[in-house]
């Protein structure tokens, strides 16, 4: 299905394609202003939910590099996310007064370095052992934050810097009204406009735009990396490490690169999260989040960037959209995971290679069994 869509898309002339992408991006930016019925989340602010969705998208893109591209099972990804968030917290509020834009680069580099430090000794451990080592890493990071007063302990860090405003703090450069949907009517709500671009407390939309911009940048970087030599080396390593090594791919180096690139993106997500939140404490970095992040990647289709984005959207959005399930919503979410897994075991949007591999397998099988079937047919 997605292939048909993609083929059609690639069949279009380039300017049309670019135009379509731009329209899609514009729609994505406008989403919280439109407040579309059904899509919009009752009981929780739609802009805030969308921001969370973009954070999950970032995390999923980063984790996809580790899990989907390089085939490394990481159950402690929240550790990098935490390092990003805490670096920003420390630098902009707790121990220094840096502006956010200066702290973010430091945060992502810190996350990346911690990825190298964790990866260098442990990436030699194969398969699921790596899963538990990373799980341990995530927990160590969280518990260290709980126990060290220097990191704010259980009380956390408050007053984390917001992004700089563009334009006047009161009004921004200009104001953008939201839409209001009544019964069959659409109204323009000029009472509560979003100010472009003021990062305050109440209005979550500017943070969503910030997150969405980050997602688009990471997405473009992801496309570039994936189609480069590095991307192919990752794919080779994942498919058959020994063969790749024999062909002259330094697999360890590339695994480490994948791990630290993933950590980089995770750190970025954490940094943006901390800035929107204004306050962080260790409760935001529980093991559960590593599991949810992984669920986003796998449910969406590990290895396919569009798939993992879809997975991230579902994992972050569904529990918020269906708040009316009340205390049954975790139950419903769990059931949805089981259903998705059993109905679409390759993920919602499997990577093309998996699709290709499946077809190949089927062809091989047909070739193998072809004669039997022929004989059977003859007998009947």
């Amino acid at each position: 299905m997605n292939i048909g869509f993609k083929d059609k898309l690639t069949g279009l002339p380039k300017p049309v394609r670019i135009l379509l992408w731009i329209l899609l991006a514009l729609f994505a930016y406008a989403l919280p202003l439109l407040e579309l019925p059904i899509i919009s989340t009752p009981g929780v602010d739609f802009g805030g939910v969308l921001f969370t969705v973009t954070i999950y998208c970032l995390v999923a893109l980063g984790l996809n590099i580790v899990v989907g591209y390089a085939g490394l099972l990481d159950l402690g990804y929240v550790g990098f996310y935490a390092i990003g968030a805490y670096t920003v917290g420390i630098l902009t509020s707790f121990h220094a007064n840096w502006p956010l834009l200066l702290a973010i680069p430091v945060a992502v580099v810190a996350a990346m370095i911690s990825g190298v430090i964790l990866g260098a000794p442990t990436l030699r451990v194969r398969g699921d052992y790596l899963a538990i080592v990373t799980l341990g890493f995530g927990e160590i990071i969280r518990l260290t934050a709980v126990n060290l007063e220097w990191l704010g302990d259980a009380r956390g860090i408050k007053n984390i810097a917001k992004p700089p405003n563009i334009g006047d703090e009161k009004t921004g450069l200009f104001e953008i009204p939201h839409l209001l949907w009544g019964d069959g009517t659409v109204l323009v709500d000029t009472e509560h406009p979003t100010k472009f671009l003021v990062f305050g407390y109440i209005d979550q939309v500017p943070y969503y735009w910030m997150g969405l911009t980050a997602v688009i940048i990471v997405l473009i970087a992801d496309i570039l990396i994936k189609s480069s030599r590095v991307g192919r080396a990752w794919e080779a390593t994942r498919e058959d490490e020994d063969a790749a090594e024999l062909m002259g791919v330094p697999t360890f180096k590339f695994k480490l690169l994948a791990f630290s690139t993933g950590a980089f993106v995770g750190g970025l997500a954490g940094a943006l999260y901390a800035s929107r939140q204004g306050f962080i404490n260790p409760l935001s970095f529980l093991l559960l989040y590593s599991i949810l992040f992984l669920a986003a990647v796998v449910v969406g289709g590990q290895g396919n960037r569009w798939g993992v984005l879809l997975g991230a959207i579902l994992v972050a959005y569904l529990p918020q959209r269906f708040r009316e399930f009340d205390d049954f919503r975790v139950l419903a979410f769990g059931a949805a995971l089981v259903l998705l897994a059993t109905l679409r075991p390759e993920g919602l949007l499997p990577p093309r290679r998996t699709v290709r591999a499946k077809q190949l397998e089927q062809e091989l099988e047909e070739l193998e069994h072809g004669t039997d079937e022929g004989e059977e047919a003859a007998r009947v």
Partner: protein
């Protein structure tokens, strides 16, 4: 266009069925805290305490006040989006919560900016009231008032020369234990930390037995306290066990004999007061269980808002002013707030577990 927007906000944005003709009829109070998730157990008594207050009000009111629940799962993660949603719904005039200090810290600036009055029935971090949020109020004493009282009780009443201090590494427990530890300084023979959710405390028991203290103070919630005291008693510890209001929950009595003699400090009026006893009876009739931790505080918090609504207030601004000037006797304490939103007048009482019940012992002065 502007008028349209105005009329819309006046009608409220959600689909409440009663379709009240009078604007003041559509007022809502929000609960902000955990309804699901790992902290759901702590959220439930708060929800029920608030529910009871709202139901009682609605029984004789012409216009019902609606109670809406904003389930944060106790996590600061969800707090900003939920708080923004609350801020956007003008019919919500007051918030009981945020239940935990962490989510309170994340949601606080939003409520402050939107001018939504909040009264937390359970968030005890002293730092919450120092942010300059006019909207912040606390219906219970913070760690800095409960901690010294517990220390005082250990020093003056128990006259314990040696104390072992345990905390649960949570914001509440570690904060409290830290203050007790500081106040008792010389008498502290040792300290240890457990983790929330941990169930085997054997090493902590060994540590306590090794230190042979006359009293053990535990800063944390009843969930861990119940198991901890059982293991301490099984391990042969015979000294006093002192805890704070996070343990004042009927579930603590599950520890059975081990719980006997436990001293619980709490800034809440004993049920020898008829109003408190009536609340407990009503609560039990409604929910067929005894009021749990912070149920009474939630009841008080909701009643502050409900008194305001009853007096004809129909917007946040007036209600905030009303709460700031409030001075009535609640069931847990005299409900009056100082400039920072802390309860102006906190009395801490000692309770003790006797014959399978938590009975009051008297005020800690």
């Amino acid at each position: 266009m502007l008028t349209l927007g105005l009329s819309l906000t006046a009608c409220g944005t959600t689909e409440d069925g009663d379709g009240g003709s009078d604007a003041a009829c559509d007022l809502k109070l929000a609960f902000f805290g955990p309804e699901t998730g790992p902290a759901a157990g702590l959220g439930k008594p708060i929800i029920q305490g608030m529910q009871l207050a709202v139901d009682e009000y609605n029984d004789d009111a012409d216009c019902d006040v609606e109670m809406v629940k904003y389930d944060s799962q106790g996590s600061p993660d969800e707090a900003p989006s939920l708080a923004t949603e609350v801020a956007g719904d003008e019919s919500i005039v007051g918030v009981v919560g945020p239940a935990f200090s962490g989510e309170g810290a994340a949601a606080g600036p939003i409520f402050a900016e939107a001018g939504v009055p909040t009264v937390t029935p359970s968030g005890t971090n002293p730092g919450l009231s120092t942010n300059g949020w006019d909207t912040f109020h606390r219906a219970l004493g913070n760690d800095a008032t409960q901690g010294p009282a517990a220390a005082k009780y250990i020093k003056d009443t128990l006259k314990a020369a040696s104390v072992f201090v345990i905390d649960d590494a949570s914001e509440y427990g570690a904060g409290l234990a830290g203050i007790v530890e500081k106040d008792l300084a010389g008498a502290v023979k040792g300290t240890d930390t457990i983790q929330t959710g941990q169930t085997d405390f054997s090493t902590t028991v060994t540590k306590v037995n090794d230190a042979k203290p006359e009293a053990v103070f535990f800063g944390g919630y009843y969930a861990e306290a119940t198991i901890l005291i059982g293991q301490l008693r099984d391990g042969g510890y015979e000294g006093k066990f002192v805890v704070a209001d996070g343990v004042k929950d009927p579930a603590y009595l599950d520890a059975k004999d081990a719980a006997e003699g436990t001293i619980i400090t709490c800034p809440c009026i004993p049920d020898t007061d008829p109003a408190v006893a009536e609340f407990a009876a009503d609560y039990e009739e409604e929910f067929s269980e005894a009021p749990g931790t912070y149920a009474a505080e939630a009841y008080d918090a909701a009643n502050i808002f409900l008194d305001g609504i009853e007096s004809g207030i129909d917007n946040r601004e007036d209600l905030l002013a009303f709460v700031n000037d409030y001075d009535e006797k609640g069931i847990t304490k005299q409900l009056k707030f100082d400039k920072t939103g802390e309860p102006a007048d906190v009395h801490v009482y000692a309770y003790t577990v006797k014959g399978g019940a938590i009975v009051p012992e008297g005020e800690i002065k």
